[in-house]
């Protein structure tokens, strides 16, 4: 039986897609932020693997084919960015300065709290790129000597948390301008935050997708410098 799984070219891929489909349906039925399709799908896959005593390697040898599409998908982020190019041009200075300040403040906080708890350098480097979209975060983590797997976990966790708290945070700190809300959402919680921002409004969603890209690029540049600081 297990041999059948080990030799399969499609098992991991098919299992992932089925679980994701269940995740999407569940999120439709229960439209609360915690019902995130990616979160549901990942938990389901882990449960199935554990229940069937199937090793991660068996799953991964076919599931990793999905990862192949990540680079073209990230390249495609240029499209939503280009669609909002007018709004981008008009508020260019405010957008760039605020996203840059947010990125720096975020990484300084990781540095400060990391120091406080005395976390290992490996964990620190893995946590640095956690506020940006997974594809770029994985690349950055690998480049600066972090553990990409830890980074991905932290990215997903950060995104979910950000989407859940964004409305409360914006209300508490009186962030009301649609562009500011969108930028805050995308800069702190990447794609998962952007899906939340789209719920709040069109401008918020557009600004949030812009923030994903800009934050990603800033982090690519800043993370290696911050990595050397520790």
């Amino acid at each position: 039986m297990n041999e059948m799984f080990i030799n399969s070219v499609y098992f991991g891929c098919a299992l992932s897609l089925i679980c994701y489909w269940i995740g999407v349906q569940t999120a439709k039925r229960f439209p609360v932020t915690i019902c995130n399709p990616l979160l549901i799908a990942s938990i389901l896959v882990i449960v199935v693997l554990a229940a069937g005593s199937i090793s991660f390697e068996t799953y991964h040898q076919s599931a990793e084919k999905l990862t192949w599409l990540l680079t073209p998908a990230t390249v495609s982020l240029a499209v939503p960015m280009y669609r909002e190019v007018q709004l981008l041009r008009k508020n260019l200075a405010a957008i760039l300065v605020s996203l840059f300040s947010g990125c720096v403040a975020g990484m300084m906080t990781v540095w400060g709290i990391g120091r406080l708890f005395g976390v290992s350098e490996e964990l620190y480097l893995s946590l640095l790129p956690k506020s940006i979209t997974t594809a770029i975060a994985m690349g950055v983590s690998e480049e600066i000597g972090g553990v990409p797997t830890v980074t991905v976990g932290m990215v997903v966790f950060t995104g979910l948390l950000g989407a859940i708290i964004v409305k409360t945070v914006c209300r508490l700190f009186r962030i009301t301008h649609p562009i500011a809300v969108g930028l805050a959402c995308g800069n702190a919680a990447h794609a998962i935050g952007t899906s939340k921002a789209l719920e709040i409004g069109e401008v918020e969603g557009a600004m949030s997708s812009l923030a994903i890209v800009a934050a990603g690029i800033f982090t690519v540049v800043l993370a290696p410098l911050m990595g050397m600081l520790y």
Partner: protein, 117 residues
């Protein structure tokens, strides 16, 4: 053949990104090179939106599903996570709030100041 052409263009930018990643010494992932080049090509009019739009939207729509294998991989580093659960929780919660507040406040302040001038 329309979607074929669209996908081909996107793969081409991914390939150029990969080459740049190999050739240049910066710690920038191939995908970011491809993304920036595609954005510049759109701005310059070398690539028109209808030439890539549908394939790009499809890829963006399925993007979360592409991360499943990476998230499931967390089960292989369970011990490392449990050992550091307190700093991880504190760091993630605090930084998320800090990034939101700093980004939002700076953007709002700059937009409003710009209007008053």
């Amino acid at each position: 053949m329309k979607s074929f052409f669209q996908f081909m263009v996107i793969l081409l930018f991914s390939l150029i990104g990969e080459f740049l990643h190999e050739l240049l010494p910066f710690p920038i992932p191939a995908s970011v090179y491809g993304l920036v080049l595609l954005f510049i090509s759109l701005l310059a009019g070398v690539i028109k939106l209808p030439q890539i739009e549908e394939a790009a939207d499809f890829l963006l729509k399925i993007m979360p599903a592409l991360f499943i294998p990476s998230v499931v991989k967390l089960m292989t580093i369970r011990d490392l996570l449990w050992e550091n659960i307190v700093p991880i929780l504190v760091i993630v919660l605090t930084t998320t709030v800090v990034v939101m507040v700093v980004t939002g406040q700076v953007a709002q302040w700059m937009i409003r100041r710009h209007k008053e001038l």
